[in-house]
């Protein structure tokens, strides 16, 4: 029973890291502009993220170490410093975008400008992190996150043409605007395979005291948790394709995205969209803030743990505190949340090799993992993932320049 409850970590990781502001933005644009044609990129991203999440969890089960910890230990400080600094910037940018998503959801519900909400949102998130234990965070976020299933309900209700949806699961060339098509394809992959996901998930496995007996559970959590996020994301593409595309709504800002549930839920579709967006972004913001604190604490060997009182891990707690304060500035000074999200997705796609390559090496360290090390299948898959991440790294920023509008 206890092991069945660990699904909460998977759902939390999925609600937070998978279906978050980046996914809402990219999926809705994909559906509105290219209908079902970009579903394949979500399918591809899902397979990749399941494989990588499974590996980072298996690593934590076998070694009782999370990834940042192990990377510094095995590759040394000099190797880790540059990825660590880049990841710190990405953590702040993503956190800024998630806070932007929460502010925007509140703006949809109340009509007040985004700036009003920036600091209160940061403070509320902080209070939650300051007071709550890790399991309280897992359980509350994963239960509340079930509201995002409204996209799945809507997608089924709308009866999309099955053959077109299935066709979209295979890559095809776009009829028009190929720059934008490829930009969105890359953004979807970048939004799903967020670097912090793996650092968060493996640290969470350590927080939950997973050991080798959890390796099968970890596999199930990776598939079910990430599968959950993927189904919701594909549903969002479908709803946008059915509702927004025929009306020529291109989704240049989140106001247009908020219209997508109204056809299915006429009276409260707008509010439902806002609440789903807020919850998905709260989960993600908590995950990113914690991920940043985990990464700092493990890099320098500080005492860490969300179950400790802040007075027992002052440095750990101050990292997420400062991260939340710093990231709230983006909304406070009036940065457009959609632009911030798309920029963040492109940059985080560009740094994926820094995440994938050390992982491939670590997962083959038999001295460390013994029988839990990668087999042939996982290695072929990871090598393919490394190639994919390098391609993404090369194309993501140029594509943002030519196709990002």
């Amino acid at each position: 029973m206890k092991k069945a409850m660990t699904l909460a970590l998977g759902i939390l990781t999925a609600v937070g890291g998978f279906f978050d502001i980046g996914n809402i933005a990219t999926c809705v644009q994909a559906g509105a502009r290219f209908r079902y044609q970009l579903i394949w990129s979500m399918v591809l991203a899902t397979i990749v993220v399941i494989l990588l999440i499974e590996m980072s969890g298996r690593f934590a089960c076998a070694t009782k170490k999370a990834l940042p910890d192990a990377i510094r230990e095995h590759f040394g400080f000099g190797f880790w410093l540059v990825p660590f600094l880049i990841l710190t910037v990405i953590h702040i940018l993503v956190l800024g975008a998630e806070i932007g998503g929460i502010c925007f959801a509140l703006h949809l519900l109340t009509g007040y400008p985004l700036q009003v909400f920036a600091l209160p949102v940061a403070v509320l998130l902080w209070v939650f992190l300051w007071r709550a234990t890790f399991s309280a965070i897992e359980n509350s976020t994963s239960v509340l996150g079930l509201i995002t299933l409204c996209f799945v309900v809507a997608a089924i209700w709308l009866h999309p043409p099955t053959h077109e949806v299935l066709q979209g699961a295979l890559p095809s060339m776009p009829a028009t605007n190929p720059e934008n098509y490829w930009f969105i394809a890359v953004s979807i992959i970048g939004a799903v395979i967020a670097p912090f996901l793996f650092y968060f998930y493996s640290s969470g496995a350590v927080e939950d005291n997973w050991d080798r007996s959890y390796i099968p559970v970890n596999r199930a959590v990776a598939v079910i948790g990430m599968g959950f996020g993927s189904v919701i994301s594909i549903a969002a593409i479908i709803v946008a394709a059915v509702v927004l595309a025929p009306r020529g709504i291109r989704v240049d800002d989140y106001h247009q995205a908020a219209l997508m549930l109204i056809q299915v839920f006429p009276y409260w579709g707008y509010e439902l969209f806002a609440v789903s967006m807020a919850i998905a972004c709260v989960g993600a913001a908590i995950e990113v803030a914690l991920s940043m604190a985990y990464t700092f604490a493990q890099t320098f060997g500080w005492n860490w743990g969300e179950d400790l009182d802040p007075a027992e891990d002052a440095r750990f707690s101050l990292v997420y505190t400062l991260a939340l304060l710093g990231a709230s500035l983006f909304m406070l000074v009036g940065v457009d949340p959609l632009k911030l999200t798309l920029l963040t997705m492109a940059i985080s796609a560009a740094v994926l090799p820094f995440v994938a390559i050390p992982m491939l090496l670590l997962m083959n360290d038999r001295k460390l993992l013994r029988d839990a090390a990668n087999g042939v299948f996982s290695n072929v898959a990871t090598a393919a993932i490394v190639v994919l991440t390098i391609v993404l790294a090369v194309v993501s920023i140029p594509l943002m320049v030519v196709g990002g509008s």
Binding site: K64, E73, G76, F77, V127, G301, W302, N303, A311, S317
Partner: protein, 127 residues
């Protein structure tokens, strides 16, 4: 646990814990003693940002030491741990016969706890 111990692979950058298991930093540097014709041996372990900075570039260490002269919470730029304090070496960490709270590795932690964190409500659950 180990059949053999690689100094860089298995010791450098490894997590340190104190006698109670509290995490107290990582091995940022290892110093060997060379004594005439005798075999070189590990003399002590070093901890601290200054040690990390030196590993990157000697100038980085100079900058860090200059910063320290302005804001020095830590009593010494680097903490030296004699090898005799090493209690146990496992795959997970290296345990030292020390109390983390009393070492320079915890100077920042203690300062931040006393001056900032403990002033914020809710920093201890028993309150």
């Amino acid at each position: 646990m180990f059949e053999e111990l690689d100094m860089v692979r298995d010791l450098l950058d490894k997590q340190l814990v104190d006698a109670d298991g509290t995490k107290m930093g990582r091995i940022d540097g290892i110093v060997l003693a060379l004594d005439g014709d005798k075999q070189p041996r590990i003399d002590h372990l070093e901890l601290g940002f200054a040690v990390l900075a030196r590993r990157l570039h000697p100038r980085a260490e100079q900058w860090l030491l200059a910063l320290r002269r302005r804001w020095s919470v830590r009593k010494s730029a680097r903490q030296i741990v004699p090898v005799s304090k090493v209690m146990d070496i496992t795959e997970e960490h290296i345990q030292l016969d020390l109390n983390a709270l009393e070492t320079p590795a915890f100077d920042w932690e203690r300062w931040l706890r006393d001056h900032i964190v403990s002033k914020i409500p809710g920093s201890r659950s028993e309150q």
